[in-house]
């Protein structure tokens, strides 16, 4: 036989620019930390030598994957990879209506209450992070900083962390992100943050006093109250 390989026609690789951009941005995001800004659309477009449109499409995909968050008038930021599950997928096919918010609330209650329960059961429970967090948010409230939808759930997230169940942390983070999405999409105003803060403090107090069951009950009631009273 001949040792010479016949020339073989190969299909020309046709690259989609936006896919290429997506790949590069994914690597970029992977090399950055949570909260880092990955630049404005215009910057990225110039650096990648592509149009803003292509950058935007890649960013939309990245956003749907839950890797980045696009904030108006601010830029694009790396988002907490803890929620390895995609909120977008979790809600796939569902419209944000009153019923959906109810379901979401029920799911959140299951997870947040479990976080409290597990925390209360821990022998080596360290409540210091929770105290510190409440101290911070309390100060922010006094300083009348502007609203921050994610603030309401930071306490619950911190609870899951001190509870020490990474799986719970991930699912909870996903649900919390979906919660934030849904509320902004529904155009709902955040609830009374001072009231939320008081309830958080009550839960922490119950934990400090070793009253786990009461803490769980308070958490359930707390989540119940966050659901919108009227559309």
């Amino acid at each position: 036989m001949s040792g010479r390989e016949p020339f073989r026609i190969r299909p020309i690789r046709q690259v989609d620019v936006y896919r290429e951009v997506l790949g590069q941005l994914e690597r970029l995001v992977g090399s950055l930390r949570v909260g880092d800004r990955i630049g404005s659309e215009r910057e990225l477009a110039e650096q990648l030598q592509v149009s803003r449109v292509s950058v935007r499409e890649a960013l939309r995909t990245l956003e749907a994957m839950g890797r980045v968050e696009i904030r108006r008038n601010a830029g694009c930021f790396v988002v907490d990879p803890e929620g390895t599950l995609s909120p977008t997928r979790l809600r796939a096919g569902m419209a944000v209506d009153a019923e959906f918010l109810q379901w979401l609330s029920e799911l959140r209650a299951a997870l947040d209450a479990k976080a409290v329960e597990l925390a209360a059961r821990r022998g080596d429970l360290d409540l210091e992070p929770l105290r510190e967090l409440l101290g911070q948010t309390g100060a922010e409230l006094a300083g009348s900083r502007r609203a921050d939808t994610t603030m309401d759930m930071r306490f619950e997230a911190a609870l899951a962390r001190v509870a020490g169940n990474p799986l719970l942390i991930r699912v909870q983070a996903t649900v919390h992100r979906l919660w934030a999405e849904a509320w902004s999409e529904a155009g709902l105003a955040a609830g009374d943050r001072r009231e939320f803060h008081r309830e958080h403090e009550a839960i922490l107090a119950a934990l400090e006093q070793g009253e786990g069951e009461r803490a769980v009950r308070l958490m359930n009631e707390h989540v119940d109250r966050t659901v919108p009273t009227e559309t």
Copy 2:
């Protein structure tokens, strides 16, 4: 004083066009069958009275959600919704050890117990599917069919369905699949299925008697017992 309510300024909800498009397309996709063509970008843009750019961004999101497929020179097609959330991503980076199984068990307990609780709270609760399921599995046990790891969780899944919370169903399904994966990976034998069956029947009995709280407690204990006694 005055019975007249003061006019209250409310923040103006600013809608993102592409989000609006996304919502409408989601509903459209939901009303179509797998493989159906949902039209070209230009058609959709004209029908929605928006620019192609907005349609494209919505389609990109929809694509990332795994709901549609965009085919060059052909159009946009509805795709198989493929299993909602990925168990693989949920466990990403974690080894299956005793601790992991414990975490998983805790997470499962949170969801399965919530399913019971929600079911118990439903006014129009229809327990027939559960009775039927237990009848089937009971017959299988009598016939000494071979082991089926998923069988242990069919009852809990059915509970979530009668509870009527689609979000809970999805998350629960993911956790259950991960559970099955982890157990097979760890080479653990399934527990005593006859015992599981008895416990399921006890839970159903509690529901039938309207004792929701007892049913929830039984479910928590049930899940606890499924965790391996020794590594």
